[in-house]
Amino acid sequence: MKSPIEFKLYVITGENYHPGRNMLEVIESALRGGADIVQLRDKISSKRELVEKAKRLKDLTARYGVPLIVNDHPDVALAADADGVHLGQEDMPISVAREILGPKRIVGLSTHRIEQARAAEWEGADYIGVGPVFPTATKPGRQAVTTAYVSQAAADIRIPCVAIGGITENNADEVLKAGARRLCAVSAIVGHDDPEAVCRRLLEKIEAWNSKTPKFEEGLNRTGAPEIRVVINGRNERTQAATLLELAAQYKLESRNIVAELDGEVVPRRLWGETSVRGGCAVEFVHFVGGG
């Protein structure tokens, strides 16, 4: 069973920001500093090179127990046994990536406005990028969304949101104040002489804000478990259930003579306990009634 992904500091590769230094060394420095999720982002290399880089990065991140996400390419992610992919709005739909990667891998999505964030949550993204908060050289030409969108996402979206785009040590507090719980940086980390030290300082800021403000999720839910939106028997419902069995129990159905279907596939009762429900999934609970 897959539990919701949790992280605080997301680092993305950007080899153009550290000419002359080895990418693996730079990322390892960030990992030592506490970066707890890594994305391989490389729009220049060939697929062959990408697979190689991803494999080497995977070896590295695995040693630190940190997930590796591959930008854009589910096939590369699979080839390197990476933990997931990150997609943009113009990339393949989440459902397609999910089909390729299976239910256990992570699928993240860049979003630039709240409608996209809601759609991503609905379609079953594991996390979303919220940004670019500030203008950034990594995404030239894209208008900054400002911290207003960060606040909006923090208030409205249940899956993990990570603020991204032009975030540095200097403006991190501003982003965290707007409601961000997780930060992502590219140039501010990998472009720095000492990525480890930058990561430490960014994490300190994140921790400080996280302890200052109660988590939004906890404000809403007694247990603090993340709440997801699911469609049950054609009805939009919110639930904190992590498995099909928990979901059935929520409606007092667990001991009744019923059959369950998740996203169009029958799930035998003995598997309910190990079948996870994810945001945006469609569940049918049915039984036999009189009929001709």
């Binding site: 028997n233 054609g234 409606y251 059959v259 029958v266 609970f285 036999f288 009634v289 009929g291 001709g292």
Partner: protein, 270 residues
């Protein structure tokens, strides 16, 4: 062929005695249904697959009422408007663990509820491949019924008239042809109104009938269940007995020889 109403028959390898399939919908109460079931002698009963009412914790399912009885369950795919939906419903029904029989019922028209022949054929083909015992509810079209048989149907269930209309058998000629040509059992399903229609279906050569509304909505459903059972037996026996051919004009059944008041015209003139 034994001229007895107790002759057994087979569907998908299962031996049946009763030729009456009883629907379970629209009965005034579970008790009335159970009494009607008793009187009908039915061994096969049909169900629909529906969403649980999430707001009600009461078990309104049908199964609890028939638990422990030796019956064959024939869930239907009503509510499906295409083959994909029917296949989904069939899989859900099979997951209930009560056997692999499925009545394919695909309606694309809400006014007539007439079965969609193309989608019905598609669903039959797919479900037969998946190992279901498939009984498609179909239009009373001889060619379609043949195609369904070729697609792997264990029995074919042509309708007498649209579901719930009680109009009886609208096209006895077609039903007769279907029964004549078919190598799998033919069960006349839908549209029957009362016992007379059941008898007619059996006389036309059907192997059985499926009825729900004419029993459930009769003034006395229990009595109607018995009437239909007797009619099915009567119709079956009549079919086996072999009916006389129809003639345009009368032919006296009493011997003409020796009748009173006959004028011996020939003798008188000679």
């Amino acid at each position: 062929m034994k001229t007895t109403v107790q002759d057994g028959w087979l569907i998908g390898g299962r031996k049946l005695k009763s030729r009456f399939f009883l629907g379970t919908g629209r009965f005034p109460s579970p008790t009335v249904f159970l009494s009607a079931l008793e009187e009908s002698g039915a061994e096969v009963i049909t169900f629909a697959v529906r969403r649980i009412n999430l707001d009600s914790y009461e078990d309104d399912g049908m199964l609890q009422h028939v638990a422990g009885r030796k019956l064959i369950f024939l869930p239907n795919t009503s509510g499906a408007s295409n083959a994909d939906e029917a296949v989904r419903i069939a899989r859900l029904a099979r997951a209930a663990g009560l056997g692999d029989w499925i009545k394919v019922e695909i309606s694309a028209d809400s006014r007539t509820l007439l079965p969609d022949p193309i989608e019905t054929l598609r669903a039959t083909e797919r479900l037969a491949k998946e190992g279901f015992t498939v009984l498609p509810y179909a239009s009373d079209d001889p060619m379609l019924c043949r195609r369904l048989e070729e697609a792997g149907a264990a029995a074919v269930m042509p309708g007498g008239a649209p579901i719930g209309t009680g109009l009886g058998i609208l096209n006895p000629y077609h039903l007769g042809l279907i029964a004549e040509q078919s190598r799998v059992p033919i069960i006349v399903d839908a549209g029957l109104g009362s016992a007379v229609d059941a008898a007619q279906a059996m006389e036309l050569g059907a192997d059985g009938i499926l009825a729900n509304t004419p029993v459930a909505n009769a003034v006395d459903p229990v009595a109607m269940a018995r009437a239909m059972r007797l009619a099915i037996e009567a119709g079956r026996l009549s079919r086996l007995a072999g009916r006389i051919p129809k003639k345009r004009y009368a032919s006296a059944s009493s011997e003409p020889e020796g009748r009173l008041f006959a004028t011996e015209v020939r003798e008188a003139t000679t």
